[in-house]
Amino acid sequence: MPAQGLDDLIGLLSSRGYEVWGARERDDALGLMPIETAAELPRGRVEAAEAGRVRLVEGPRDAVFDHTLPMHGLKRLVHPAEEKLYATGPDLVARDEAVAANPVAVLGVRPCDLAALETLTQVFEGGPYSDTRYRQRRDALFLVAVNCMRPAATCFCASMHTGPRAEAGFDLSLDELLDGDRHVFLVTAGSARGREILAELPGEAACAADLDAAEAGSRACAAAQQRRMVEGVEGLLKRNLEHPHWSEVAERCLSCANCTMVCPTCFCNTLEDRSSLDGAEAERWRRWDSCFTLDFSYLHGGAVRRETASRYRQWMTHKLSHWHDQFGMSGCVGCGRCIGWCPVGIDITAEAAAIAASEQGQTRSGDET
């Protein structure tokens, strides 16, 4: 598909009733927002991300998708930041609030965010109970993935085995091939809905050289990643639930919950009542919550996790270790958002590496004696 085909794609999706969302520049960063034309995408811009800092800057070439991640994952489309569940009067006959799941097509979903969506699906549907509200929103999504050709400095998907190339979980996927004046997209369908759209897109069948170039681009992107998660982190953290490093992190951590807000898999939420002034009507709302708040672990008498150290440990061990026990998979997809959006630059890969290094140090000193 020629580069101009992106507008055809947006048109086809709109004509089928989808509101099209993509990464758009806002306040020197990227947000996931509705778009009307491909011109609104951050063409030629890349994310200069570091621990504690994310800025959009001019990139080296005129690619549409060299930028990496908007600050939002797909989480807020399937698990909104707040939603009304029901309303009731004193008779407690609850009136269910219908889910307003408008069809949304997301253009430019990264492989790590596809993996995150699978993770959320496992949380809300993989256990003994299935959340029908989640399912209605999930079914309303059309996903156009983009395989990454360039990592941000905070990316570590290769070591989490979630990217930089999407194998499944999308309706369509794109590889952006830019070589001199030739600017094309390799389009792959991953569902029946995707094949219908693909049949109407301009362009010709892909040649072997383009397929090779796309694969090579993904390999190069994986090789260029500067960060990686240490091997065997699930067991590593379980062995070190009590470790001086948790207190060391807590000296930097502000318990601000930014990491949990930008994390595409952090699903924790709370339920609360909102009453009318006369108390006759009450609404039950579900809204995002964070394990970094003191109130999160409250039991009569006080919070279980009073120290920042125990809250940071809860977040990191849940993500990387106990998620496996609870949901049969990792809760971290390696998107690196928590690193970039942390106001003090705490780096989950570095914290895991520090604990791993202390274990190796112990083994070495053990060997010597």
Partner: protein, 286 residues
């Protein structure tokens, strides 16, 4: 999740976040700050449950909390909860009068592994309000007394005026074959019974530790010490079961609040084997 924690998972309830309206049909002031509410559905079938399970109780405009079921499992038309006034929602529940409405979801969670006790000694250890989720188990055990070698209950509270269900316990001890041991942390002037920890009563009341199944509920430090003492006495770790408590918002495994390491207490618990808990219970602020 391991096979043992899953093996006695009861059938799943409807995955609905909407409460069902129930009515308070009887109210019993158990202690100065503690009330038992007997609930019946406004419409439709009563709620069946197995001993150890809990429900989410909703008070209009105040909030929703998990409360364990404390009544007789063979009388499902009377759903009993015993509640201590320790916060906004428990306070509102304790103030409800007969005829008032309560929203109910559930029942949720794992059950006491009753079948593991068949042909063996059942040893129940309760601390404070922890007796509430154990009472359905004792009801069941006494109704199935012929299938158990013995049924013992060790019960400790802070002071004599905190003892729950005392008349019923004494009646069971007198005529139903319950071996009852009661102890308090601090005596009052008129207290004739024992003073001390529940662990002090174990040596005298355990008959055959290797052939004993123990079930515990109470404050976490009490359960930790009692489980350690039972283990040291020779009760197999896999036969010691604890009912755990954590903050819970949904009861369905979706809100993340009730985590204890690898467990979601609402989904995998509240009843879990000590063999899987003992390492977690000694970790600071887990």
């Amino acid at each position: 999740m391991t096979a043992i924690a899953r093996s006695y998972q009861p059938p799943a309830a409807e995955a609905d976040m909407l409460p069902r309206p129930f009515r308070v049909v009887a109210r019993q002031q158990e202690l100065a700050d503690c009330v038992s509410l007997e609930l019946a559905p406004v419409e439709g079938a009563p709620l069946g449950f197995v001993p150890g399970q809990f429900t989410m109780l909703y008070v209009h405009g105040v909030g929703e909390i998990p409360i364990s079921i404390s009544g007789d499992p063979s009388v499902s038309e009377r759903l009993v909860h015993t509640i201590r006034d320790v916060g906004a929602v428990t306070g509102a529940l304790c103030r409800l009068q007969e005829g008032a409405r309560v929203g109910v979801r559930g029942p949720y969670g794992s059950a006491w592994p009753l079948e593991r006790a068949f042909g063996r000694h059942l040893f129940v250890v309760a601390g404070g309000l922890g007796l509430a989720p154990l009472r359905p188990l004792v009801h069941w055990a006494l109704a199935n007394r012929h299938r158990l070698k013995s049924v013992a209950l060790v019960y400790g509270t802070r002071s004599p005026d905190n003892l729950l269900f005392l008349e019923q316990l004494r009646a069971w001890a007198a005529s139903e074959g319950l071996e009852l041991g009661i102890t308090v942390d601090r005596a009052t002037a008129d207290w004739q019974g024992r003073v001390g920890l529940v662990t002090d009563l174990l040596p005298g009341m355990l008959h055959d530790p290797a052939e004993t199944v123990a079930m515990l509920c109470g404050p976490e430090p009490m359960m930790r010490f009692a489980a350690q003492a039972l283990g040291s006495a020779g009760v197999p770790q896999a036969d010691i079961h604890l009912s755990m408590e954590r903050n819970m918002k949904c009861g369905l495994g979706w809100c993340g609040h009730c985590q204890l390491g690898p467990f979601l207490i609402c989904r995998d618990g509240p009843v879990l084997p000590y063999a899987e808990l003992h390492r977690l219970l000694t970790v600071w602020e887990l």
